[in-house]
């Protein structure tokens, strides 16, 4: 009884409700005759697709800037890196010269550009957040929105030669949604793409077991990123950063520059955001520009909070559980709801209710913790 009680206290009521709801949806979908394998393939895919973006919340929270609604900065950096890489790939005509290596090089180049850009932008953003201590989350929400507006102008004014990217019949501006099918789309997660474009010895990257899809490549990449963050949080530097997030005076009195640590955390968070959006696009198969990333920050925030993180403490396990529950509900709700009621937008409504509700719940809890 006691262990049950501690489990309940550790797990928390909101997560119990959401986990219960998730299980209910799964049972319902199976009763309604959906294939569990297909359903779970989808859940796993979405889990990994959003995982890195949610992981990006961890360094931010640990360093004391709170929930990084400004993750759009990292997302924009990643997107910019991706379009640059694709343009270079097109100009150099890698598809003909490199063959099966072309998507790999494009992916690596996209990551490279994205990470560099995000590191620079993230550092500046960290410096900004140091000036607004106490209201980081308000400021980061606005920064997150503003950068999307700013990037809209950028996307409109870039003139690229790559036909996949630029608006057809127009010299300037990029498309709303650019397909990655000729590039690195599905390279790590889609068995069809892997089998069509890659040599046999790479077919383990994504394969099917019956109806169930195993995106092993993506699993390994995501696991590797989680491991990196986990190692960092246990390093001297990471422990100092977590200290800075928990108690600034304590950390200062241990001879650590708190502001530097906060910049470090913000920077890493932004970089992970850039990597996250590239992995997202890779899985999704499309690059979404303009307003598409506007609310991604909120989804990431909601996921990690569902996972049990607070505004001040987050762990890798929060990322894993939270993303699974949040995305799991969205994936399973869609077919089930469509079967039960015929309103097309209901899953979307559900998504908004869950994500905003959870954010509200978590924020209302933080006050209680401080008192």
């Amino acid at each position: 009884m006691k262990t049950l009680k501690t489990f309940y206290e550790n797990f928390g009521l909101p997560r119990l409700i959401i986990a219960g709801f998730f299980i209910l949806l799964v049972v319902a979908s199976i009763i309604l005759g959906f294939s569990p394998a297909v359903l779970f393939s989808d859940v796993v895919k979405r889990w990994l697709m959003y995982g890195t973006l949610v992981l990006a919340m961890v360094p931010g929270i640990q360093s004391g800037i709170g929930l990084n609604f400004g993750i759009s900065l990292g997302i924009s950096s990643g997107l910019l890196g991706a379009v640059l890489a694709m343009e270079i790939s097109f100009l150099r005509d890698w598809n003909t010269t490199l063959g099966m290596g072309a998507p790999w090089l494009t992916l690596l180049l996209a990551l490279f550009f994205g990470v560099i850009l995000a590191a620079i932008v993230g550092t500046l953003y960290g410096m900004l957040l140091n000036r607004v201590k106490g209201s980081e989350m308000t400021v980061s929400t606005y920064v997150g929105f503003s950068v999307i507006a700013f990037m809209n102008i950028v996307w409109l004014s870039l003139s690229f030669k790559n036909g996949e990217l630029s608006w057809p019949l127009q010299g300037q501006g990029l498309r709303n949604t650019a397909s990655l099918s000729g590039s690195f789309g599905g390279l790590l997660s889609n068995p069809d793409v892997v089998q069509a474009t890659q040599p046999k010895w790479l077919h383990w990257l994504a394969f099917r077991v019956g109806e169930f899809t195993v995106p092993l490549g993506l699993i390994l990449v995501f696991a590797f990123l989680c491991l990196l963050v986990w190692l960092f949080l246990r390093s001297k530097s990471g422990i100092a950063m977590s200290g800075a997030g928990e108690n600034q005076l304590f950390t200062t009195s241990s001879g650590i520059n708190v502001n530097q640590k906060r910049i470090q955390g913000t920077m890493i968070s932004t970089v992970l955001g850039a990597v996250g959006i590239i992995l997202y696009a890779q899985t999704y198969g499309f690059l979404q520009l303009y307003n598409a990333p506007l609310m991604m920050g909120f989804a990431s925030v909601a996921s990690i909070l569902i996972g049990g993180a607070t505004v001040r403490r987050a762990r890798i396990s929060n990322v894993l559980i939270g993303t699974l529950l949040f995305q799991g509900i969205l994936v399973t709700a869609l077919p089930v709801v469509n079967e039960v009621v015929e309103i097309g937008t209901l899953p979307e409504v559900l998504r908004i209710i869950i994500s905003n509700g959870i954010i509200l719940y978590a924020l209302s809890k933080t006050k209680g913790e401080n008192q």
């Binding site: 246990r234 001297k236 200290g243 241990s254």
Partner: protein, 533 residues
């Protein structure tokens, strides 16, 4: 109850969370009398006043025992409004004035006088028109009655000298009709000398009108100058009620400090050893710390190698600032020398790298990562400064969990930290055990100089003893120089070799632990006077 007393608080006891802060205290005040309430910090003065005013904090923590009577009748003061109705007023230490309002507006705030208007007849008196003439006249009268002819009732409070603000506060209390008793809570603490003298005069004026005054202060000379009688509290206990004419400064000081019999550190731990004036471990030269509320203003002191050196004194005098300055939490000026070498305090962690460790007085605010485990707290500084508890995995170094765990377990055993294990969050520990974790973190640094600030604040007697004994032990066995900053003279005197009493940001005098109580009392009160013993 005795009819002659205006206010009579008898056998008052109060507990905060099982901690008894008042034990059978009695306070009697006659009409028109200036009655001083004296005692060290934590003697229970504020709690007693909170009870008198029916402050919510008293009722939120289970009320109090004992009886309060006014004019010989039992009074129930269960909220501040009731206190006002009984004619009890208070002049606060921090001014409760609105700067952008005029003197009149401040004096009449909440008690405005109004005319009836058409609107107010319908919607109630909140919409009455203010009678400015009457309000100005009343304010003028109140100001005149305390001899403040030169304060204009129509000026704004903002920009007034601090002393004047204090007088406006007093005028506001005087203006309340039926005021019988005024409490002055350390009114002279923020005033200049001439302003303070003026205030004392005003107090006499008020008393002459038949209003009784309770005067709370640390400045014993003021008590001698103005009060008729006094009540002395010590550790929540009633010590004596005396008439000022029957007593002396030294006598009051002695009663305030008191000789307590309980021993905090056993004698056999306090072995004799040689301390040399040649080997100076830590020296402050013209040292300033800009810590709000605890400013250090030009301190000069030398602390010998292997010594246990105490800093005592009243709250707000600057003793707390000393350590916080060294640890880089507040800006400093002047020089701090460690074994003759100047510390560059503008660099973070400079003190730690010079083998100085620090246990903060603000456990929860500075001393601990409340959300983290005991283990993480204990190893944090040693890891960051000395690169301990790390192991290499390829090019990166990460936490060596096994070593950290072992060390934490050792510390838990050594200091008897009551917990479920090294992974328990420190936020869920009791105060005493949290303090032990702070201490464990400091000694994990293996410091040569250990600065402990208020090491026993808010912890129970058992933990207190253990902490103090442990400090003595590492001093004697490892030769660690210990600087102990404490408000509790008793604990300083039970283990320090020398004690510096800090007053107004400077070292007032350096004393021996066996100096007489009266001498300590006077030093704490900042009175320089030869005492006949």
């Amino acid at each position: 109850m005795d009819e002659q007393y205006l206010l009579s608080m008898s056998n008052i006891s109060k507990e905060y969370y099982g901690n008894r802060v008042l034990k059978n205290v009695t306070l009697n005040v006659k009409p028109g009398e200036i009655h001083a309430l004296v005692g060290e910090n934590g003697a229970g003065k504020s709690t007693l006043m909170n009870i008198l005013f029916g402050m919510p904090v008293i009722y939120a923590t289970g009320g109090f025992e004992g009886q309060v009577s006014l004019d010989g009748e039992v009074a129930t003061v269960d909220n501040p409004h009731a206190a006002m109705d009984y004619g009890i007023g208070m002049v606060h230490q921090e001014f409760m004035l609105i700067p952008e309002f005029t003197v009149t507006e401040n004096i009449k705030l909440g008690r405005e006088i109004g005319h009836k208007t058409a609107l107010s007849r319908i919607f109630g008196n909140l919409l009455e028109k203010l009678n400015w003439d009457q309000m100005s006249r009343d304010s003028r009268k109140a100001l005149n009655s305390i001899g403040m002819m030169n304060i204009e009732e129509y000026t704004k409070v903002a920009g007034m000298p601090i002393g004047y603000k204090q007088f406006v506060e007093i005028a506001r209390e005087i203006d309340k009709t039926g005021i019988k008793l005024l409490v002055f809570d350390e009114p002279t603490a923020v005033l200049t000398e001439s302003e303070a003298d003026r205030l004392l005069e005003i107090m006499r004026l008020i008393a002459e009108k038949g209003i009784a005054i309770i005067f709370i202060t640390h400045r014993l000379t003021e008590v001698m100058a103005v009060a008729d009688s006094m009540t002395i509290l010590r550790d929540g206990e009633f010590v004596a009620r005396k008439d000022v004419k029957d007593t002396s400064l030294a006598n009051i000081a002695e009663l305030m400090i008191g000789r307590q019999v309980e021993k905090l550190v056993e004698d056999d731990l306090l072995g004799e050893r040689e301390l040399s004036d040649e080997n100076i471990a830590l020296e402050f030269i013209d040292y300033y710390v800009d810590m709000p509320g605890e400013r250090v203003k030009g301190m000069n002191v030398k602390i010998r190698e292997g010594e246990i050196f105490g800093f005592g004194g009243l709250a707000g005098q600057g003793k707390i600032g000393i350590a916080n300055g060294i640890m880089g939490l507040y800006d400093t000026e002047g020089e701090v020398l460690v074994r003759g070498k100047t510390l560059d305090l503008s660099k973070l962690g400079e003190a730690l790298r010079n083998k100085i460790a620090f246990v903060s007085e603000d456990r929860r605010g500075v001393g601990l990562l409340l959300g983290e485990s005991i283990e993480r707290n204990i190893i944090f500084s040693a890891m960051q400064i000395n690169d301990e508890f790390l192991k290499g995995i390829g090019p990166i170094k990460i936490l060596d969990k096994a070593t950290a765990d072992k060390h934490a377990k050792n510390m838990i055993k050594l200091l008897d930290i009551r917990c479920t294990g090294p992974s328990q969050a420190v936020g869920s520990l009791s105060g005493g055990n949290q303090q032990k974790v702070c201490l464990a973190r400091a000694i994990t640094m293996i410091p040569e100089i250990l600065i402990v600030s208020e090491p026993t604040r808010g912890i129970d007697i058992g933990a207190k003893k253990l902490v103090l004994e442990y400090l003595t032990k590492i001093n004697r066995e490892l030769g660690t120089t210990i600087v102990m900053i404490s408000s509790e003279l008793l604990e300083l005197r039970s283990l320090c070799d020398r004690i510096a009493i800090v007053s107004e940001g400077k070292v007032f005098s350096v004393m021996k632990p066996d100096d007489p109580d009266a001498a300590y009392g006077l030093a704490m009160a900042g009175v320089r006077e030869e005492v006949a013993l």
